[in-house]
């Protein structure tokens, strides 16, 4: 190539031209490198970002499955309401942003046009309620109370209402068949929170913003099955939100139905009787405090003895679960969580715990047998038991002389168990335990399932407490600082206790063991634990996980996933001991037994009844009434906080529940036609070929039906029975 020659170009220019060329190509190389970095190296990241840019999803919520009782009666289902919704995407396409359409719509619905427009505007920091807080691509509900006529008007002249839909939409409902509310067992729903969405994002069951989530009870335990899967259609949209095409559509799956072992009729009886028993006992005066009984809370569990299935479970105070529908108001929520209402959201059958009292004596009797005492030997039921300078009195300071353990249950003799508990404590080494201390009483309590959750299929069950050496130690560790600060030698009762606890609260004392033998002291149990344990005695020793869910049935009725009873342990006693316990508990309703006065006329030969009463002392409160009973089929446990004695407060109610189950009247005549459930319900409700489940109608419980002569019994009669010498 020709260079420099006859031109005016000098080497300076020539070099500079080359510099320019080099500069130019380095710029191009820079661009190329950056391009490679963005597209090839980080391309995936930007692809994902681009996708989130232009896809919007529209959700068709899945209809939540129903919760049915054992015969198919819905306890929770959905009602159809006519919901009128407006599609913002459609309205925004119009010249006036849909103003004309919304005004017409307001006319049809009898609303003010402004109210309708306010409802469909999007929320932002400057917009006060009402406004739409959800996705702008989701149809926005204008009203959920449209009449059929209004819906028809909108649908028939759809050309006048572009973007407006009037569709029947499912809304949760708790119908309370036969006035069985089943409140705490069913639980409730509330809208999903941001954290939950985030947490469940990558699981196989992600939430949608429109989802309602089970917050407690069965609604929570079986949430995933009941919820189903919402249908999602993803649309590609442009920058202005105009839909450009449908990318994919994911059809929804309606929620499955849950069949439970609850029988709505029995549930109705249980709820009524619990409420009634508490009401009745509030009219009685507590001899110890001289006040009327508070009866501030109570629970009853009706369980199938051979499976652990729960037929009824009620807790007082209760509430109407429908209060949650459509969003609970602040006032209503405050009422449900207020101290004055005594926390009706609590399911006291699984979340209420109290000292056990004498219902615990089956554990002590079993512990004694395990420790080597013969069940049928004679043990002295003295009027009091002395330890050092302390004396522990029997109930009403009556003695019965030497009796078997079976009779000790029958009379609920404290001193027999005081002595056994004390002796065992001494054999284990007392305050300074031996290395191989048996701790039979504590160990047996654990083996009966106390101090641990029963694993019922309800959330937030509490575990109760067995105050064994281990617990004493850790409890002392946790509290000694406070005790030592508060304690004062020779101070008030509380100060003195604190003082002693500070010094030696870590030791399991003789006093503790004596108290524990009759279910007093620091021991806490829940009604469901007690029911599980007594059902185990009834069924020959198997501790079942209590269950309420019986089967999950797919909406088409084709897939049935049964929930089989599952055991979590065996009672730590042999069949002979179980049989001995059984005989002892039978005698409790027999002549001289503590519950005899409540089972007058009971057909003991046909339907053998076993029972144990309990009256637990609670510091600073009135006594807790416990009543644990079972037949071959059912176990019923009732408790009333600050309700007095076991048989006194809970006896009639439990008897009435049995009467209703077996169709008995007060004199023990059985009428199977009236019997609600003489045998536990084994089969699932019949499922129709279309997947629907037939539900029999439920009549509300009429308590007078079980009385022999309604005229004779006005509610006073039962209370006015012979004053029991041996009732607790």
């Amino acid at each position: 190539m020709s260079n420099i020659p006859e031109t005016g170009r000098t080497p300076r220019v020539q070099i500079r031209l080359i510099i320019i060329q080099v500069l130019v190509f380095s710029l191009l190389l820079t661009l190329g490198g950056r391009l490679w970095y963005l597209q090839v190296r980080n391309g995936d990241e930007y692809t994902a970002e681009a996708r989130s840019n232009h896809v919007q999803q529209v959700v068709q919520p899945a209809v939540r499955g129903s919760i049915l009782d054992a015969r198919g009666v819905p306890l929770a289902d959905n009602e159809t309401r006519l919901v009128v919704s407006a599609s913002r995407t459609e309205l925004m396409k119009m010249k006036d942003d849909g103003k004309a359409v919304l005004t017409r719509l307001a006319g049809v619905l009898g609303m003010k046009p402004k109210d309708v427009m306010d409802k469909v505007r999007l929320c932002d920091s400057q917009t006060p309620q009402p406004c739409w807080n959800g996705s702008p691509y989701q149809p926005i509900p204008v009203t959920d109370e449209a009449t059929t006529q209004q819906a028809l008007t909108i649908r028939e002249s759809s050309e006048n209402f572009p973007g407006i839909t009037a569709e029947p939409t499912a809304v949760r409902r708790y119908p309370a068949p036969g006035s069985a509310k089943t409140s705490q067992v069913l639980g409730y729903l509330s809208p999903v929170t941001d954290e939950e969405i985030e947490k469940a994002k990558d699981t196989d069951s992600p939430f949608l913003r429109s989802d309602q989530v089970g917050r407690s009870g069965l609604e929570r335990t079986y949430d995933k099955a009941l919820r189903g899967k919402a249908g999602v259609t993803r649309y590609e949209v442009d920058k202005l939100g105009r839909v450009m095409g449908q990318t994919e559509s994911d059809p929804g799956i309606p929620g499955s139905d849950l069949v439970t072992s609850i029988d709505a009729r029995v549930q109705g009886v249980a709820e009524y009787e619990l409420h009634q028993a508490m009401k009745t006992v509030r009219d009685e005066t507590d001899k110890i405090t001289g006040r009327k009984y508070e009866a501030d809370a109570g629970a009853v569990v009706v369980m199938e003895s051979r499976t652990g299935r729960v037929v009824a479970m009620a807790s007082q105070p209760d509430y109407d679960p429908n209060v949650w529908i459509g969003g609970i108001s602040g006032k209503e929520y405050a009422q449900l969580t207020d101290k004055n209402s005594n926390y009706p959201l609590l399911n006291r059958a699984i979340q209420g715990q109290a000292p056990a009292g004498s219902v615990f004596k089956v554990v002590s009797a079993s512990a004694a047998v395990r420790a080597g005492y013969d069940f049928n030997d004679r043990y002295n039921c003295s009027s009091s038991y002395s330890m050092g300078n302390r004396s522990f009195a029997n109930f009403e300071s009556r003695g019965h002389g030497p009796i078997t353990l079976g009779d000790a249950l029958k009379f609920s003799c404290n001193t027999v168990f005081y002595r056994l508990g004390h002796q065992e404590w001494q054999r284990d080494g007392g305050i300074k335990p031996k290395k191989d201390a048996h701790d039979w009483f504590y160990r047996t309590a654990h083996d009966f399932g106390f101090g641990a959750e029963t694993r019922i299929d309800l959330p937030n069950e509490v575990s109760g407490r067995i105050p064994d050496r281990q617990w004493k130690k850790s409890f002392w560790e946790a509290n000694k600082d406070a005790w030592c600060k508060q304690g004062k030698k020779g101070g008030t009762y509380v100060e003195q206790i604190a003082y002693e606890s500070c010094l030696e609260g870590n030791q399991l004392k003789a006093f503790d063991s004596i108290n524990f033998a009759i279910g007093q002291g620091d021991v806490l149990i829940t009604p469901i634990q007690l029911a599980t344990a007594y059902a185990a005695i009834s069924n020959g020793g198997t501790l079942y996980n209590p269950t309420i869910g019986k089967a999950v049935i797919s909406p088409d009725g084709k897939r049935i996933q049964e929930i089989k009873p599952k055991a979590h342990g065996k009672l730590p006693i042999d069949a002979e001991t179980i049989s001995n316990l059984d005989k002892g508990l039978r005698s409790v309703v027999g002549p001289g037994g503590t519950a005899a006065w409540r089972f007058g006329g009971w057909p003991q030969d046909k339907i053998p009844m076993r029972a144990k009463t309990g009256t637990a002392q609670v510091y600073g409160k009135q006594t807790t009434s416990w009543f644990a009973t079972y037949t071959d089929d059912y176990t019923i446990v009732m408790t009333i906080s600050q309700g007095g004695t076991g048989s006194g407060a809970s006896g009639p109610a439990v008897r009435n529940i049995y009467d209703a189950l077996y169709g008995l009247d007060d004199e023990g005549n059985q009428d199977l036609k009236r019997a609600l459930l003489p045998q536990p319900q084994k089969d699932l409700p019949k499922i129709q070929p279309d997947g629907s489940i037939d539900a029999p109608t439920v009549k509300p419980y009429d308590p007078s039906e079980q009385l022999v002569d309604p005229a004779k019994s006005n509610g006073q009669q039962q209370l006015a029975g012979p004053p029991p010498v041996w009732r607790d």
Binding site: M1, S2, N3, P5, E6, T7, G8, R9, T10, R12, V13, Q14, R16, L17, I18, I19, I20, Q21, L23, V24, F25, L27, L28, T30, L31, G32, R34, L35, W36, L38, Q39, V40, N42, G43, D44, E45, Y46, T47, E49, A50, R51, N53, H54, E236, V237, D238, K239, L240, M244
Partner: protein
């Protein structure tokens, strides 16, 4: 049909038929720089496709005709090619005589922009609306006249053989004539164009052989000027925001940083092969603003991928390489300076335009030569190609 210097440069050939003339060994067609021409045409063709893709769905712009911008771009290219042919036909030496007139016209035009004749588009008062949907951006033509007027002044005495390098007086004079329109453009304010002009002046000075002091001085003056502009608040808020967003794109993704963010998402999501023409989500979804003009490169990035966008870079590389060859091989300093000015112009404007879509340069309203939609820019770059071709055609055959 012969021009003063153009189609009948063969001085010793006997009379021949027109076709034979065109195909003769020393004919204009043979002497044209074909890689330069073909690369430019290819860029314009790719540009037409990209403009089409970017505007197909923009009903608010294309008046209901999805191909509206496609045909307009093709028409602009056609006019540009005609302008190139005209420039070759006239020849850069002829034009050298007309430079003062052209310069005067271009300065009057940009002055006219500042009068009520001018229109504001995208914050810059840089347009003259002609009517019928046409508008003119005179600053595009000023880029050419600045190159021409400086080349004329700087090369005059060197090409005459008086001097080896332009003297200080000449350099000062040429800088004055360059600065005059730049001040006017700055007032519009069209900062992007001023930036390009500064780089053009730098390229011109370098190629002219002006002393290093001038070159370094100009670089220093540029930096000082930029600092001064920022300090005196001459910049509008939108211009400052562009720089702020460049410094920190996450600052406000929905506001100022939005453009660059969306542009980067578009390009990044293209990957190696791209989504395919018309298949880019970012493009069809119209997420990138000004996509047919300043952000045209994002369409290439998203729909044609690294291969397609890389091809555009390669074609620009060919154009700049051929222009560099022309600068180095011409016999007159005038031609060298003109070619170097054009190189500086094309190179910087391309780098700024593509760089801002890639997030390595701040946003400035500059079109990508040949590719972006826009008549004024298209005409100006094709006139520049005409000048380059003319420089090459008119140099003596050396082979």
């Amino acid at each position: 049909m012969t021009g003063p210097h153009g189609f009948s440069v063969s001085r010793y050939a006997p009379e021949r038929g027109a076709l034979a003339k065109l195909t003769a060994r020393d004919s204009v067609l043979r002497r044209l720089d074909w890689p330069l021409l073909l690369s430019s045409l290819a860029l314009s063709f790719i540009g037409a496709l990209l403009v089409w893709s970017a505007t197909r769905g923009r009903t608010e712009l294309n008046q209901g005709d999805p191909q509206y911008f496609l045909w307009r771009h093709v028409l602009n290219t056609g006019i540009g090619v005609v302008l190139m042919i005209g420039t070759i036909w006239l020849g850069h030496r002829t034009l050298r005589g007309a430079v003062p007139v052209l310069y005067g016209i271009s300065v009057l035009l940009i002055l006219a922009v500042l009068t009520p004749l001018g229109a504001t588009i995208n914050g810059a008062h840089a347009w003259i609306v002609i009517g019928g949907g046409f508008s003119l951006q005179p600053s595009e033509f000023v880029k050419i006249t600045i190159i021409l007027v400086m080349a004329m002044l700087l090369a005059a005495r060197v090409d005459a053989g008086d001097l080896i390098h332009p003297d200080h007086r000449t350099v000062a004079k040429s800088l004055f004539f360059a600065a005059l329109p730049m001040v006017i453009v700055m007032l519009m304010p069209d900062l992007g164009s001023v930036m390009v002009m500064v780089v053009i002046v730098l390229g011109v000075l370098l190629a002219s052989g002006a002393s290093n002091r001038w070159v370094l001085g100009l670089i220093g003056a540029g930096i000082t000027g930029a600092a001064l502009v920022a300090a005196l608040g001459v910049l509008d808020e939108y211009q400052l925001n562009r720089f702020a967003a460049f410094a920190n794109p996450e600052l406000d993704p929905a506001g100022v940083g939005y453009n660059t963010n969306q542009a980067r998402i578009a390009i990044g999501s293209g990957g190696l092969y791209g989504a395919g023409l018309f298949n880019g989500h970012q493009t069809t979804g119209q997420f990138v603003p000004e996509q047919q003009t300043d952000f045209i490169f994002t369409v290439a990035g998203e729909e044609l991928g690294f291969l397609g966008a890389g091809l555009i870079l390669a074609l620009l590389g060919v154009v700049l390489w051929r222009a560099g060859r022309i600068a180095r091989e011409t016999t007159e300093l005038y031609g060298t300076i003109v070619a170097a000015g054009i190189i500086a112009w094309f190179a910087f404007q391309s780098f700024e335009n593509i760089g801002m879509t890639l997030g390595i340069m701040p946003v400035a309203g500059l079109p990508l030569p040949f590719v972006s939609y826009g008549g004024s820019s298209m005409f100006a770059v094709w006139v520049a190609i005409g000048l380059l071709q003319s420089i090459r055609v008119q140099r003596p055959i050396t082979a």
